[in-house]
Structure formats: structure tokens, C-alpha cells
């Protein structure tokens, strides 16, 4: 055990001591009859790549491999290479190979992610009002075929298109496995296609650009047999986009001794309401926190 204390143990971070300690405990129950002269591992291994680990010495020994989400034990002949299968090294991270006979020796190596095979592409938000600065963001996390995060720098091409018009094209390198962008929303309501690609890998997301708050809200009205019929002009935002159907417009008719209100949804760009009021009234209009004009309507002749 003294080799372990002097060489490996002292160099380990506290979190890693546990697995090493486990290996040393296993070592106590290992085979005897051989003398381990050394374990030689590659400095790094690409995930999923079959890898030989050479041992030195003579006789039989127990081989342990401890890594992220895996532990393996095999009987080996010292002096022969231990062949690690693809499935043994699928998860990226730090592995410890331990060979035990009368004594134990170990060596650590790293498994790194393979080339990107998929990516997670998160775009936020799913809806955004037009002309909002820094309102749209996207994040890409590349993964290899074993779902290991690829930490090596990669270039991600982000492209934003609205209809057929390209709004943005920006290559961005990943740092620590993440690439991201942030940009403003466009001026026109509609779908915003957001694409990300790494070589032949590509993913697309859609952000719905919606009209902003109503702008210059105006109403017109006339007296009918049932009261007053009031309706808005085409409701649009300050960029000229029609405000989404279903948006509530509140009509308020104030008269001498009371008032009437109707919350009417915009349908086909226009909100209208019937207000049962026989006398002269002042009709005002609002949508959310936006106010519109006032309209004076006389009483029944």
C-alpha cells in the first residue's frame, strides 16, 4: 500500500480519493502469485475507442478499471496487454486502471468526447414582441454519440432568417462545450427561423415574432337601434404590424350617471362592441396599459 500512498494518493483531489480507495480495498482480495512491475496507460483515449493497457511483470493478477459510471474486474496475465473494449470507455472523464497481485499498481488516464454527433439547441423565448433589443438568445451544446459533452473548441454557425431575408449569420466558437448568441428581435411579425450547424450537424428552431403593444389606438362609432356600435380602426403596433387577434380592447362609455364597459377581443384586426346607452356618452378605449382616443356620441334624437 505504500506505493499508493506515496505516488497516487497524494496527487489525487479529495473527490477522487474514494474511487482509488475502493481500488485499494479490492486489491486486498486480489490474486496472489505474481509480481506487478508496472501498468502503462495512454495519456488520453477518445470515447468508444478500443484501447490496450499494457502490464509488466509475471504471473496472474486482477485488473480493475474504475471510471465514470463503470467498474470492471478481469483476471489477466501480467506482461500481456489488457484490451479495453469500446463499451468500457464510452463515458468521458477520468479512469483509474489498477492491477493487483501480491501488490498493486495503478495508473490514471482520461477519456475525452468523440467527434460531435448531436447537439442540444435551446432558443429562448418561443414568442417575442418585435423590435426588442437583446430579446432572442440561443445556446448550443455539442455531444458525441455517447452523449458526452464535447469540450474541444468547435465552430457553430448561427443563422437567423425571417421569411426569406437573412437577419444574422454568425460563427461562434464553443468554450467549455457551450456556444451562445443573443440578438434583437426583428421589426416584422412572423416566424423567425433560428438555425445552428456544426459541420454536417444542423438544428432549427422557430421563434414567433409577435406585434408589440397597440399604437395610436383609434375608435369610431355610431348610434344604432340597440345603442352605440363602436369599433376600432385596424389595430397595429408602432412598427405597423397588426396586433394579434384575441387581444382585448376595453371600450368605456361614460355618461352623466354611470358608465358601461365592454372587453372585446380583436377579430380580423378590429375590435367592436355594442354599448346599450340611450343618452349622450363619451366613449374611450384602452388595451392593456395603452390608451386610445375619446369619442363623443349624442343621445337618441
Amino acid at each position: 500500500m505504500s506505493w499508493l500512498t506515496n505516488t497516487v494518493w497524494a496527487n489525487l483531489r479529495p473527490g477522487r480519493k474514494l474511487s482509488t480507495c475502493l481500488a485499494s480495498i479490492l486489491c486486498m482480495g486480489g490474486l496472489s502469485g505474481g509480481e506487478v512491475a508496472g501498468v502503462h496507460v495512454p495519456a488520453s483515449v477518445v470515447a468508444g475507442t478500443p484501447t490496450p493497457i499494457s502490464t509488466a511483470g509475471s504471473g496472474k493478477a486482477a485488473f480493475y478499471l474504475i471510471g465514470p459510471s463503470i467498474s470492471v474486474k478481469r483476471d489477466v496475465n501480467l506482461g500481456e496487454a489488457v484490451q479495453l473494449q469500446s463499451r468500457d470507455v464510452q463515458n468521458a472523464g477520468r479512469y483509474v486502471a489498477v492491477v493487483c497481485s501480491e501488490s498493486c499498481q495503478s495508473a490514471a488516464f482520461y477519456v475525452t468526447a468523440a467527434k460531435p454527433a448531436s447537439m442540444s439547441f435551446l432558443v429562448h423565448p418561443s414568442r417575442v414582441p418585435v423590435a426588442q433589443s437583446d430579446a432572442v438568445s440561443g445556446v448550443v451544446l455539442p455531444f458525441d454519440q455517447f452523449r458526452n459533452l464535447v469540450l474541444e473548441p468547435l465552430t457553430v454557425d448561427f443563422q437567423l432568417t425571417a421569411g426569406t431575408a437573412a437577419l444574422m449569420s454568425r460563427p461562434i466558437q464553443t468554450h467549455n462545450g457551450v456556444a451562445w448568441f443573443r440578438t434583437s428581435s426583428g421589426k416584422t411579425a412572423g416566424t423567425l427561423q433560428v438555425a445552428a450547424s456544426i459541420n454536417e450537424l444542423a438544428a432549427k428552431r422557430v421563434v414567433r415574432q409577435v406585434a408589440s403593444d397597440p399604437c395610436n389606438l383609434r375608435i369610431k362609432g355610431q348610434r344604432t337601434t340597440k345603442g352605440i356600435l363602436v369599433e376600432t380602426e385596424l389595430v397595429h403596433d408602432c412598427a405597423g404590424n397588426p396586433v394579434t387577434d384575441g387581444t382585448i380592447v376595453t371600450f368605456t362609455a361614460s355618461e352623466a350617471n354611470g358608465k358601461s364597459t365592454v372587453d372585446a377581443p380583436i377579430k380580423q384586426g378590429v375590435a367592436r362592441a355594442q354599448i346599450a346607452s340611450p343618452g349622450p356618452v363619451v366613449v374611450s378605449v384602452a388595451s392593456g396599459v395603452v390608451m386610445g382616443n375619446e369619442l363623443r356620441v349624442g343621445g337618441h334624437p
Binding site: 439547441f121 414568442r127 384575441g246 350617471n257 365592454v262 377581443p265 346599450a276 388595451s287 396599459v289
Partner: protein, 380 residues
Amino acid sequence: MKRILPIVIVVVTAALMALALTGVGRSATTVGIVSGSVLPGFTPRASTPEQAVANLLIDVKRRNWDRSYSALARISNGADEPSFKRDWTGTDGSLRTFSNLEGYDARPLHATNDEAQMRLQLHWSTPVGPIQEVRDVQVRREGEVWKVVWPQIQTASVPAQVIPVNYLRWDVVTGSAEDEWGSRNIDAPHVRIISMNAVDSADGSIVMGEVVNEDTIPAFVNVNATLVDSAGNAIDDETSFDKISHVLLPKQVSPYRIDFPNLSLKNVKNVRMDVKASLVPASADPVIGIMDQKLATDAQGRNVLRGQLLNEGGQTVNISHVIASFYDNTGKVVWVSDGYVDRALLPQTSEPFAVEIPRALSGKVQNFHVVVNQYSLGKS
């Protein structure tokens, strides 16, 4: 001794039963006010206006429509039996159809030898809690018996018509489990609390204000409040429950009110507000107009906001729930009040509503805003 005790028990029980059954409607709690729990039992002869009213309400409670109707005074514009029954049981899936008469108070307003006017305060139990209804009824003496006059109630008559509706509805489609992570996320609607006011009242503390849906899709909204003491510890937390219009269409504003019973604001250092919004399928129809809103005093002398709900659509609204926020001269919300309308809103017809304002606040109220929650059977 073995025989005496059972006999005494039987006699006392019978006496108490007789007292309870014949004493219905006579257990006055306040001088001049007759109260009753309308328990089933024997019906005494209506020798007084109070007894006539009590007998009527007992039969109504028993749903003995034939007998209750036969005890009414015969007048030219009196209700026919079906409309009398409809008046008590409700129609069209209204709140009244789910309600039960639990009790009443009857107060004489005016009486002569042959006629009397009584004010009934009817206590209904409903799925949304107890509801009080006030009715003034005429009682007339016919021979030795007093009879209640029940005029024909004018119910809304909807003519056959075609109402064009440009149907507008939102449905929510959720992604399947196989979808790639992050590929089909839909953000929750953006809603914002635009005002908040915390006040002490006789029953406890009240947190109220208004919330707006700033998004372009409908939102199901709930507002929570947590009262925090000076040490930063939460004292209590409550939700707006039904004192809010939960489904908010885009840009719609709703009042909310959160009650903390038996809790004073004296010990409260801070109020933490939290508004939760989620996607919900919704329909923009029918539109309900709130007409003739005015501050007034009701028959009992209470300050109320009253008006008419006008169904401008072509569908029946079974239950309407009115929520009103009241503002002072600085535009601050000083009170939020609500009430249910117990009759269904038929297409193109209107129903009256009234919500109460505390007497202490009636002088401060300068403006108000009313929204209507609507429930239609078989509709989400």
C-alpha cells in the same frame, strides 16, 4: 324505575319534536325580524303575515311546489306555477339550479289589517359559498288567512335569430415525449402585477390589486401573497382563489384579492407577491358587456356598485362572476369586491348584478373597473 325512565325519555322526545316542528318560523332572533331554518315539519295556519311567509318558505324548501303555489294569493298578474317553480329552482344551468335554500330572515316593512310588505333575506347554499338574496314581498289577508302575493317574474325572452360569430379560440398542443429536448418548448405567458395594496379590515388583512396579461396568448393566472415579519420569516401565505379572473386573454386586466383572515398588518414588514401563469386553451366568446354601472345604495342601505351584464354573444353563459376593483382619486386600488349572478345569461339578454362596497370606503371611491368571469357548462 325500569319503566319510568324510558317513558320519560319518549315523552320528552315527542314534546321536543312537536315544539320544533310547530315552532318553525317563530324563532325570532331580533325584535321585528323573523328567522327560520325552514326545517320540515307541520305547517301551522297562516294567521299572520310572518306565518304566511314562513309557510311558503318551508314548502319551497321541501320543494312542495303544488302546496306552496296553492297558498299564494290569486292576483291578475300572479305567477303561474311553472314560472313560480322556475323562480326558485333556476333554469339553464344557472347558479340557482345548484343552490339550496338554507334559511331566511323576514322583516315587516309596512303592515295594515289587510296588507303587509315583508323584506326577505334568503340564505342560499351554493357551490361557490353562501349567497344572500333580498326580496320584498307583499302579503295579503284573504278571510282569516294571510297569503303571499307572487307576481309573474319577467324572464328574458330570446327571439329566434342567427348571430354570426367569428369564432376565436386558442388550443394548446403539447409535444410528445420523444421530442428532442428544447425543440418544442413554449414559454409560459407573461403576466405582470400592475398594482398592489395591503390593508387591514375588520376580518383580517387584505392584499389586492390588478394583474395584466402582457402576452399574445391566453393565460391561466393565480396570484399568491406571503406576509413576512420583521425577522424575514413568513407569517402566512394565501392565494387569490376565486377573487380573480383566472383566464386572462391578451392585454386583459383583472382585479385580484387575497384575504388573510384574523391577521393584522401590524406585525407585517413585507408582502411578497408571486404571480403564476400557465398556458390554457381559451375562447374569446361570448363577449359580456357591463352596462349602466353606477354607485348606489341598495334596499338594505348598503353601498353597492350595480349594473347590468349584457351577453353580446350567441351562447348561454350559465354562471357569471363579477369582480370589481375600486380606485381612490390617486388611482390606487382601495377595494376589490365580487359577486355571483344566480341567473343564466341568455344570448343577447341582460341580468342585473350588484357588488358591495364597505361603508368606510364609499366616500373614497372615485372610479371602478369591472370584469366578468364566465362559466358555461360543457365548455373548458
